[in-house]
Amino acid sequence: MGPSRFSLKRQLLLWLLLPQLVLWLAGAVFSYRLAGRYANEAVDATLLQATRSLARQVKPMGNGLLIDFPRAAQDVLEADPSDKLLYTVSSPPGKFILGNRNLPSPPAAPASPPLGQAQFYDGEIDAGEARTASPVRVAALYLQFGENPKAQQTMLVQVARSSANRELLARRLLIDTMLPLSILIVLMSMIVWAGVGAGLAPIARLRGLVEGRRPNDLRPIELDAAPQELRSLAQAINDLLEAVSHNVQGQRRFISDAAHQLRTPLAGLKSQSELALAEAPPGPLTMRLARVHESATRSAHLVNQLLALARTEPESLTRQTPVRFDLGRLAREVTAELVPRALQQNADLGYDGPDCDPECASASQLEESAGDHREPGGRADRRDADGADHPVEVTGIPLLLREALVNLVDNALRYAGRGARVTVQVRGGPDRAELIVTDNGPGIPPELREQVFERFFRATHEGNGCGLGLAIVKEIVERHGGRIALSGAQPRGLRVTLDLPLATA
């Protein structure tokens, strides 16, 4: 058995079911033989009776024998044509008197044959003309006769019966014993099968725990109800996972430290180039400085994004426990924080969600018509009372989702250009929450919508992005059990939808 086909279950089943099979076979052989013996005993008893009866009919007449064999007795003897009784009366040496001459002679006729003691043996008989030999059971009885006690003669009475019936009897006995035994064996096999399955279930569970794991999920395996042997295996795996995790953490810490160490010199470079750019007189040098500054800015952005990406890794989350929070509130806060930046670019950044104030969303028009004498107090009071009471609650790490939203809005502002209109929306469904960022920029062609999630892939070389934004967002969303989808917006633009599970009650 090759290593690939070696299965613990198979082994266990083999070693548990094989003894049962042996037991079953032994039982079959044993009961067949037992049945044969009892059948023989029964047959022998009738044969003996028949032999004695026949012997009684043989009467000595002087030196001869008188056989009083009435027709009726003959009929009884030969009643069953399939189970024929054959008989022979002879007086040794080989003097045939009556019956069938073909009966097999007793095994090794002893010198002084046991008188009055019946001998039983198996033999074969040529059933005459063309038939093949058929097995028979024979009873042989030596008797003495003669009126003169000194000159008594011996006679041999043999009665034979076909073994067919005996076989039939034995077989029926066998079947009657083996049928319940077989059912028992099948039942036991089923129990063993189920037992082995149940016993091995923790292995399957352990496999499931290891198999279904994301490669970066290095948390210890938690096997609740497992036998001692598996527990130690799980412990061994956990030890390994911990060692690997420790290793990975060390590397990540190094990367993170390296990125952090880069920040200060980059900040210096940026500030210095900014300053130089402001001070330098216009000329070719200014252009170069502008390039330097742009490059510094890009590097700074790249370092920040790399760190953001590192933050989304689960190892960095060990100390950040997910909490339940209102996604709408987070989206409003983040959007509000980004508004000044949007205004700098002359972009129109807005929010639309369950708590969005309809009066506010279309405030411009309302204010146009709102006179000094208008008293819409009732409406506003209503909004105060219940307007902000539709939280869209999700469970997660707010800092990461904030990072995701900042990236999406940043992308929209970055690529939709000046005068862009960017809208953040939050929608709560029955069991999902949606965070949507829509812009009216150039959008992303459908054929690139998968690739943009790859790290360092850039759909356009406009702007000074680094190609990590959507990868970061995707990591974060998937870490929260959500999905990200890109679609086109009407009449133009891009719509990014984050689909997150709602917090369970």
């Binding site: 370092v303 508004v339 639309d352």
Partner: protein
């Protein structure tokens, strides 16, 4: 405005000092925590920019020591660390704001000015464009001309000016108003509209916009979020 810059990276510190001076700050530079503590004890500053990774005495330690003697001096933390723990540690130690390196100088400047505004909000007057406001007298002027403002209008203007350049939500406005209502019993100011207990923010925004005409400031409506006061764009 006196500013203390505690930053150990010489190149960054040099550029920042230069930029801050260009923005009108008077800058003292401390290359390590010990110097920063010495300067803080010796001089009066309006705002502190503090790097967390300072040699000799760490930034957090400097901040903690400072808070023992001065609870109100605005401190902005400038750091290369930005994990949640670092942020929480900085804010817990008493920082008012947190900026991660590398940054754009305009961003730093805007945050510093916001800090200064907040710290002075209670004592000084605030200006933007042709608009000026005095909190003590609860009065405001456009081009030197007194504005007639109801208490609610003044609160709204105060809120917008204090948070200029940032979004004010209706929630915040209502909060400011409810605070005013609590104190309103003592002040006889609620004359123009004090009786009308209306919360209609947009009505007040509309009125304020009219009154601020010519002040070179604009109250922007931010879709779905609220309002923002900024200088009128040319």
């Amino acid at each position: 405005m006196n500013l203390l810059l505690a930053e150990d990276d010489a190149i960054l510190a040099d550029a920042l000092c230069e930029q801050m001076r260009a923005s009108g700050f008077t800058v003292e530079h401390a290359p390590n925590g010990a110097v920063a503590q010495y300067l803080l004890a010796k001089q009066q500053f309006d705002v502190v920019v503090l790097d967390l990774g300072l040699p000799m005495v760490g930034g957090i330690e400097v901040l903690k020591q400072l808070r023992l003697t001065d609870a109100s001096l605005p401190v902005l933390i400038l750091t290369a660390l930005d994990s949640l723990e670092d942020r929480v540690a900085g804010l817990n130690a008493g920082a008012d704001d947190y900026l991660t390196k590398p940054f754009d100088f305009p961003e730093l400047e805007a945050r510093l000015r916001a800090l200064l505004r907040r710290s002075r909000a209670l004592k000084a007057s605030t200006e933007l464009g042709q608009l000026s406001m005095q909190r003590e007298t609860r009065s405001a002027q456009v081009r030197g001309e007194m504005l007639e403002l109801s208490p609610r209008e003044f609160d709204l203007l105060d809120l917008l000016l204090t948070h200029q350049g940032r979004v004010i939500t209706k929630e915040q406005i209502n909060q400011a108003w409810s605070g005013d209502r609590n104190g309103g019993a003592a002040t006889p100011a609620g004359t123009a509209d004090g009786g009308a207990a209306t919360n209609a923010v947009e009505v007040y925004i509309h009125r304020l916009r009219r009154k601020l005409e010519g002040a070179q400031v604009a109250i922007r409506t931010v879709r779905g979020l609220g309002y923002l006061l900024e200088l009128e764009r040319a």
